[in-house]
């Protein structure tokens, strides 16, 4: 019962936070300097044409009325029609979301796996040269300037060596002919490698460092000392006892570090012409396409909130004291 109340409370919290974000977003977009009209309407039109377009878009209504319409639409899942593309925002997001999920999950999973592995080794050999090399490389990964690094990768591997394509998600000349699904799958994979490496490297640093510090903490715990006293082999202690416990916070931290990954993800998508949510958001923002930018941002906020909710739940499950 107590657990259910806890979960319900957390859910309520998310709903409220989401509502606050939605409202803040709406007013930010509407109250920014320069009337919304000039942002949407083509500046080259005559005043008469402009006025006509404004009426057609519903921008002539008072702001409260627009807000109510916005809330009503959002609650029914109707995110509006993109000013720029003239298509329902929902449809655009649906098209883009798959690509982002593909890139994000694969790079996160990969980075977490390798990060945990390397972090384990690093912590186990604390103070050794290997540890220093790993820590410093992790720090360098972490402080890399993403767009710079991505462009460098693109230039070296895509252009100079030429074994990877120059951005995009597929080779059109392959797709316009009747190629097999297998060839198409391989093609997408081929295009994915460079952006994947970029995101992987950015995330790797933080996972490695986290695993290292978490592992160091675990190694100080009593049960490791007990295990040693029992005469278990070092390898068993490292892999079975220490690493397993140390990896937990790393897994749960995926949710918390999501905001950071999204920054990097948007930049990576932008450079590699990866048609995902992040790139669409940058595009919508620079074209003042409110409905689209709003929806992209709401989606990102929702994903982040949900991920954190899951982390909370996981923690509550692992450590029952929290709910009490």
């Amino acid at each position: 019962m107590r657990n259910q109340i806890y979960i319900l409370g957390k859910l309520m919290e998310i709903v409220i936070i989401f509502f606050v974000i939605m409202t803040v977003l709406f007013f930010l977009f509407r109250l920014s300097p320069g009337d919304p009209v000039s942002k949407v309407v083509d500046p080259m039109l005559t005043p008469e044409d402009t006025q006509y377009l404004i009426e057609q878009m519903g921008l002539d209504k008072p702001i409260w009325e627009q807000y109510m319409v916005y809330l009503k639409n959002c609650s029914t899942g109707n995110l509006g029609v993109s000013f720029h593309y003239g298509e329902p925002v929902f449809k655009i997001i649906k098209e883009r979301l798959g690509w982002t999920i593909l890139l994000f999950t694969s790079s996160t999973v990969l980075a977490a796996l390798v990060g945990v592995f390397l972090g384990k080794i690093s912590a186990w050999n604390k103070g050794s040269r290997l540890d220093n090399i790993l820590s410093i490389s992790a720090l360098v990964c972490y402080t890399l300037f993403i767009p710079w690094f991505a462009l460098l990768l693109l230039w070296i591997f895509g252009f100079k060596i030429g074994i990877f394509p120059l951005g995009g998600i597929l080779s059109p000349e392959l797709w316009v002919t009747n190629s097999s699904w297998f060839a198409r799958g391989l093609d997408i994979l081929h295009h994915m490698i460079l952006p994947l490496i970029t995101l992987f490297i950015i995330n790797l640093g933080s996972y490695l460092l986290l695993m290292r510090s978490s592992m160091l903490g675990v190694l100080r715990e009593d049960y490791i000392i007990t295990a040693r006293a029992k005469g278990l082999s070092e390898k068993v202690i490292r892999n079975k006892h220490a690493a397993k416990n140390a990896a937990l916070p790393v897994v749960t931290s995926v949710g918390l570090s999501l905001a950071f990954s999204i920054n990097g993800g948007a930049l990576t998508e932008q450079i590699f012409t990866w048609p995902g949510i992040g790139r669409e958001l940058i595009f919508a923002v620079s074209n003042n396409d409110y409905p689209l930018a709003q929806a992209c941002f709401l989606l990102i906020a929702l994903v982040v909130l949900l991920a954190n909710f899951i982390v909370d739940m996981l923690y509550a499950y692992l450590d029952p004291r929290i709910t009490h």
């Binding site: 919290e13 936070i17 606050v20 974000i21 930010l28 977009f29 920014s32 300097p33 320069g34 604390k126 103070g127 220093n132 720090l139 360098v140 972490y142 402080t143 890399l144 300037f145 993403i146 767009p147 710079w148 690094f149 462009l151 460098l152 230039w155 252009f159 933080s206 460092l209 986290l210 510090s213 978490s214 160091l216 903490g217 100080r220 916070p249 931290s253 918390l256 570090s257 905001a259 950071f260 990954s261 999204i262 920054n263 948007a266 930049l267 932008q270 992040g278 958001l281 940058i282 923002v285 620079s286 003042n288 930018a293 941002f297 990102i300 906020a301 982040v304 909130l305 954190n308 923690y315």
Partner: protein, 317 residues
């Protein structure tokens, strides 16, 4: 649970004791810590890199006086109108309008320090004050402040800055600094809050309460000195993220256009189409960003170990 700073964990366990002792014999303690700190290989590397950049930042004040063409923004070599490689008069070469790249790099170092340090400072002050108030007051105010912190903590700062700057037009550098600070206080305030919570019931706080000290006095006179070293530690990490965010923003073209910075240099090399054949223009700012942020990060790590005696001992063993 580790506390997160822009995706990076800082272990805060077992910190309280060490911090509390710092209050007495401050100078002596400081010298001792400095010794430990400088002996730490991470700290040493960090300090050396930082020193180099500091010299560069200072040199940026001198260079335009040598010759007006070395002004990073408006100085133009009268004989050069395309991007050229390194030479004796231009150590790193020139950009496409004939401005000196080395002068821009120096100016960029200055701006990176300004942006990094000031936004870190603002966010630490904000985080510290909110954290102390939240921890000290407790109750609804605590819940409200920490929920707000939660919201801000999960929002991607670059995306928000992008949205804001496209809505409100080009920001000047101080507004960018300020927004980064606002996006960055929550993690600090959480740590400070837990620190405050543990201090709250210490005898000396109780004693000053009994003696009739006001809440404000207790917070700023008794609690603040005890959380200050921790806040300083966090400041070094904040610097890192502020520099990176400002650079990314400038790179995307939403930075302060009247201010030369490393991100701006990268934006120019990108937008002017010199990206792929002017390595002398492309590489230095990118490497500088990484090195400077790395230096601050190393500094933070070293400080972390100094402040946490337990970690230090193990590190030596």
């Amino acid at each position: 649970m580790p506390i997160w700073i822009r995706g990076l964990p800082i272990d805060v366990r077992g910190r309280t004791k060490g911090v509390f002792m710092l209050k007495n014999h401050y100078v002596q303690r400081f010298l001792q810590s400095w010794k430990i700190f400088i002996e730490n290989p991470l700290g040493k590397t960090g300090v050396i890199i930082l020193f180099v950049f500091m010299v560069m930042a200072l040199a940026s004040f001198v260079v335009p006086h040598i010759n007006p063409m070395y002004d990073p923004m408006i100085g133009i070599d009268p004989n050069i109108s395309i991007s050229t490689g390194p030479s004796l008069t231009h150590w790193l070469g020139t950009d496409n309008v004939g401005r000196d790249l080395f002068a821009q790099l120096l100016e960029g170092a200055k701006v990176a320090f300004i942006v990094g340090l000031s936004s870190a400072f603002f966010s630490i002050v904000l985080g510290m004050v909110i954290g102390m108030i939240s921890g000290y007051a407790g109750g609804t105010l605590d819940t409200f402040l920490m929920r707000t912190a939660d919201i801000i903590m999960v929002l991607p700062s670059l995306v928000i800055l992008l949205i804001l700057s496209s809505l409100f037009g080009q920001f000047n550098i101080w507004i960018i600094v300020f927004i980064i600070a606002i996006m960055r206080w929550p993690a600090v305030s959480r740590v400070i809050r837990s620190q405050t919570l543990s201090l709250k019931h210490r005898p000396f706080i109780e004693a000053s309460k009994v003696a009739g000290a006001s809440h404000l006095r207790i917070i700023f006179r008794h609690i603040m000195p005890n959380v200050l070293p921790l806040a300083f530690l966090y400041m070094t990490f904040r610097v890192t993220s502020a520099i990176l965010v400002e650079a990314a923003l400038s790179f995307l073209g939403f930075g302060d256009p009247s201010q030369v910075s490393w991100g701006m240099m990268l934006q120019w090399v990108w937008k002017s189409g010199n990206m792929f054949h002017a390595p002398y223009w492309l590489l230095p700012p990118g490497i500088s960003i990484s090195l400077l942020t790395l230096a601050f990060y190393l500094l933070g790590r070293a400080m972390d170990e100094v402040l946490d005696p337990r970690l230090r001992k193990e590190g030596r063993a």
